[in-house]
Assembly symmetry: C2
Homo-oligomer: 666 residues x 2
């Protein structure tokens, strides 16, 4: 124990000296246990001492600034810092000086392409939110301009999106009917948009962007599929020409409504609607098969709108069952600050709708931005992007726009059409402006069924059953989360479905923590490597030793379990020894590499296990505890009860050193 | 790549053959990178193939049967199994045959000792729950008898406990006043006890006992301290002789009530109350200092009750301000099945109170049972113990008892008085029976202030400020959880305070998962060991390599963070290389030892990082991925994109093998 006690002392010294001096202790090479060559024993040391404040600072910077956003300001002059700061907040200045005619040509082509998609989609998505079609066009004009100033993604095409629109429509319609109280409904929609923007920019400003990570991809797959099914069914109203339809967003009432209103079905509408739907689906299918033909699906909606409008215009005297959009006001966005609603019975509804649509639109916008950034090898700062999207929605809510974000489908078209910078958004906004100023009368005879067909085509693409199958194959619990959000959205409600899915995802994390793996390790012959005996058949038991790896932090939530489980391993090992006439168990080695944290309950568990094993004359050895664990063991004085031959850096060294101590006694 | 591709193929073969054949590939020893001797390279293999059902079964048995409760039934005859089964459900049969006169002598002494404590405490705790004192005695008679049949702890002393009593009192009094509607109140108390029992035994039967682990010790320390402060303040009613007092359980109203009712203060009561309180506190202090003198604090309550009763009896004509218990009915527990309340407006309150008191009493009972079992080296099966406590409460609720469990203070006295088996509970119950049958009139003149003094003495012991200080020292977030439950209970309410504290504890787990550590590893010279460069100053960088350890599973909740963090490490490393003129970064090694799980988002992150590094000509290598991670990578086809020289078992082998491949090219 002579050498050992020296090593124990160095624990208590280390924090004072603040530097852990390497003091490898070499032992005389013995005859080599298990035919291993003699080896040096390395001691486990404490991490360098830091004050509570330093640790707090480190922790806070890891939580809120993991990407170190200020790193480019380092070692710069004040003027450069100013320029970098302006460029940071308005990324447009970052590349404006390098902007060229070539880039502009690409951006014009892609901007006009997405405009041809954005106009019909804008009108359709406004209808999806039960809003007047013109609001969809307003929302495709102001927000893209704001984003092109503030946004850091070069490929994001901004405007209304299906998920946020349908959630807003379903949540507001549950309490207020647009047909009965159009002004109140409009007020609530703008107010929700305002709160969505406030919530988004606050998340970004407080650098709490990581909160949206809790909407896992599995949850979103299920959610989008459920929403797509509901929305498609809702569109049967327009496709079948039904006049009286439920505003409910659940599966059963919607289906019931379709069947009960058979008398209102209009065969002209149904035939034309289905023909155009098939055309649109075929166009989408062609573009999906051959990305080079992206323009087929990009041009299809506007083409369909034009053709169907002309058709309906000429048939207007014959087919009375076909409903059209009707009169749309000309002119740019009117201000809507006077429409914001800050007191009254529905304020809670507006806030709730704002937060949920805000989260959903953020999730889509950030994910799309990151996807295209990764494809083009540039970085998108999530938190800054949130501020940009939030500000865009706040300004939008004051200029008659509803919730907008980066749309996946339009951004993909934008990218494929060769967009190079956010100038394509400016081009798109200009095209929408021209439409708003001069072309509005042309939409008078646009039939509702074509909008329904466009919406169905858009949302059907959200049903990603192959991704769901992959989840089932790879991770059953991810699949359960996906299924929960699908079923929840379809049969209960959007917020509850999402809540359940997030609950399942969090439960999965907790389950992993509550019931962590413990592995029996064995030595791989001829090496110092120890691996799971279950996985590596060549791994062998080491006589008199039991080597376990704990695969989780030790927390209050699993400390009781781990204590019982470790003692069960010991009991089973002793039973195995009895039946196999092995040599007595003398040492339990816990590989602590994966025990990345420990709390006060965890420390007590370790001490408890040590005490219980001590009574049975079994030594407990910890191997490779990580820095924070050693630090906590030290602070709680638990480390004092561990001798030098009870803490090692590797399993190999522990086995070698301990068994060489036993040798002489035998 | 010749040898390499062979190894890749073996991945796809392995699951079919179900056994991973060890096929170590040895490379020709090169000149030794970083002066290391030539070494064998070990391949990473898949865990043995298991069906979904097998995995599910394994998982379920780990969740619900981690202690393998049926292991002693293995390899036994049917008759032996029957006997073992009876012994399993009625542990009394396990040791009854070995019971001796010597054991009985110990149990008699300890049984009578705890009875002397149980009688005054029973009366006091019933008052704490705003129940008639006699219910406290009933609850010290039937439940101990039931527990002695079913319980597996040998040292648990069963009866009413302070926390559960006060929570029941506070929750029921918030809706129903005992003075106004005594029968309804009593009904609700018995019904809550019934539901507590149902909840407890269901938890045990479904083997969901681990759910109570989520009440971490830190939470409980804060909760108990907050509850103790509130209860002590509430007892000022009895201690000051105040007749009209608030039933509220919050800090502010209670303090306000004490001050506002100064006119009702009775100086005789105050003087005597404080004298007895000091005596009791001194007795507790003496026993705490010298465990051998445990009988001082054990005998003090009963002695105080006797002395104060005699005092009040003789002073009854002079001191009118002193209130006493008054008439108590003689006789054993009357049945109370007709008092159970299964319909009506308060049923939800009864269920809620039952669940919360049930959880709290379980937590205390199980923790106490485990503590004394650990001291005496025997095991307590948590789930079975829950069934025993639950059944005890169900039967109790039908025989005029309120919530009972193993009490910490009385069990400690029991243990110190030499109790050997649960027979001491039977002795205690018999003593209470004698009291119920013959001694009830003696309590007529027992003053209320002595009950208040007994309660204050009991609950003050629950304020463990030293434990709170230790939490602060060792784990700041544990301390925050503790503080939250303390403040929550003191100023808001018991259920909300507990909920907040559990929330903080769960948040802590999630925070650790959301922002895991990533460590920069360096080589310890002359070895194959790689350790944190921050912690081990002797660890050195390896040229052209960046070695990182990820200290957490990779989940949806942290996949974005980890991706950004890893890329930031790479960027910082490249900047470091630039300023230090190091050789170009060519390989990023991720040590996956602590990545104990991965989900679909995590897999995507790994592939994304690999792709982004690939664009910069940096190779990504995974080292020592655990079984489940390799399995998921394989199932999601992600493994195919990793070549043989991109997966290694140890960092040392990876560095050696990869740099020996580079050598010839240079």
């Amino acid at each position: 124990m002579g050498v050992g006690s020296k090593r124990v002392e160095s624990f208590s010294e280390s924090p004072e000296t603040a530097i852990s001096v390497p003091a490898a202790v070499s032992l005389p090479s013995s005859e080599g246990v298990a035919a291993l060559p003699g080896m040096e024993i390395h001691r486990v040391c404490l991490p360098p001492d830091r004050t509570t404040l330093q640790k707090l600072g480190n922790r806070v910077s890891e939580i809120f600034f993991p990407d170190d956003p200020l790193h480019r300001f380092k070692n710069q002059t004040a003027f450069q810092k100013l320029i970098l700061g302006v460029q940071y907040f308005f990324p447009i200045f970052d590349w404006a000086s390098e902007y060229s005619l070539g880039l502009f040509r690409s951006d014009i082509v892609s901007g006009i392409t997405i405009a041809s998609l954005a106009i019909p989609q804008g009108i359709s998505y406004a209808k999806l939110a039960n809003l007047p079609p013109i609001v969809g066009l307003y929302s495709s004009f102001v927000p893209p301009l704001i984003y092109s100033l503030l946004g850091s993604s070069r490929h994001l095409a901004v405007g209304p999106v299906s998920i946020a629109s349908l959630v807003m429509g379903s949540m507001l319609s549950a309490s207020v009917s647009f047909t009965d109280e159009p002004i109140l409904y409009l007020k609530l929609a703008f107010t929700s948009t305002f709160f969505a923007g406030i919530f988004q920019s606050t998340l970004g400003f407080l650098r709490l962007g990581f909160l949206i990570d809790f909407l896992s991809k599995a949850t979103l797959i299920g959610f989008m599929a459920g929403a797509a099914v509901i929305v498609s069914l809702q569109q049967l109203k327009g496709l079948f020409g039904i006049a009286h339809f439920t505003t409910s967003m659940q599966f059963v009432p919607v289906i019931a409504s379709v069947i009960r209103r058979r008398d209102e079905w209009s065969w002209q509408t149904i035939v034309m609607g289905i023909v155009f739907l098939l055309v649109l689906l075929t166009a989408r299918h062609i573009s999906a098969r051959r990305p080079k033909l992206f323009w087929v699906s990009a041009a299809a909606p506007l083409t369909s709108v034009i053709i169907s409008t002309i058709l309906v215009f000429f048939l207007r005297s014959k087919a009375h069952g076909i409903t059209t959009i009707g009169h749309l006001p000309k002119g740019v966005n009117p201000p809507s600050t006077n429409m914001l609603y800050f007191s009254g019975p529905f304020i809670a509804l507006a806030i709730k709708t704002g937060i949920i649509t805000g989260v959903l639109s953020l999730t889509e916008g950030i994910a799309v931005g990151r996807t295209f950034a990764a494809l083009n090898n540039y970085q998108v700062d999530g938190n800054k992007e949130m501020m940009a999207i939030g500000l865009m929605n706040i300004i939008g809510s004051c200029s008659s726009c509803f919730v907008t974000t980066g749309s996946f489908s339009r951004s993909a078209v934008n990218y494929n059409a060769g967009a190079k910078t956010t100038v394509s958004n400016i081009v798109m906004a200009s095209t929408v402006l021209v439409t708003l100023l001069f072309l509005m009368p042309l939409f008078h005879y646009t039939p509702n069924f074509i909008l329904a067909a466009i919406i169905i085509t858009a949302v059907i693409g959200l049903i990603d059953y192959q991704a769901a199958l992959r989840l089932w194959k790879v991770d059953k619990l991810d699949f359960v989360a996906c299924l929960c959000s699908f079923v929840g959205v379809l049969f209960i409600s959007v917020p509850l479905g999402l809540t359940i899915a997030i609950g399942v995802s969090v439960f999965k994390i907790l389950l992993h923590v509550t019931r962590p793996n413990t592995l029996l390790l064995g030595n791989i012959p001829g090496t110092h490597i120890y691996q799971s005996m279950n996985r590596h058949r060549e791994a062998l038991r080491v006589q008199s030793f039991l080597v376990l790896a704990i695969e989780s932090p030790i927390y209050f939530a699993n400390s009781t379990y781990l204590q019982e489980r470790i003692l069960r391993w010991v009991r089973e090992e002793e039973e195995w020894i009895k039946t196999n006439n092995g040599s007595m168990l003398r040492c339990l080695i816990l590989d602590m590499t994966a025990v990345t944290a420990v709390d006060t309950s965890g420390i007590e568990t370790i001490l408890e296990v040590k005490k219980m094993l001590g009574k049975r004359m079994i030594k407990l050895v910890l191997v490779n505890p990580v820095g924070s664990v050693v630090e906590k063991l030290y602070k709680s004085d638990a480390l004092e009860s561990f001798g030098a031959d009870e803490l090692y850096m590797t399993i190999g060294e522990a086995v070698y050193d301990i068994s060489s101590q036993w040798k002489p006694k035998v």
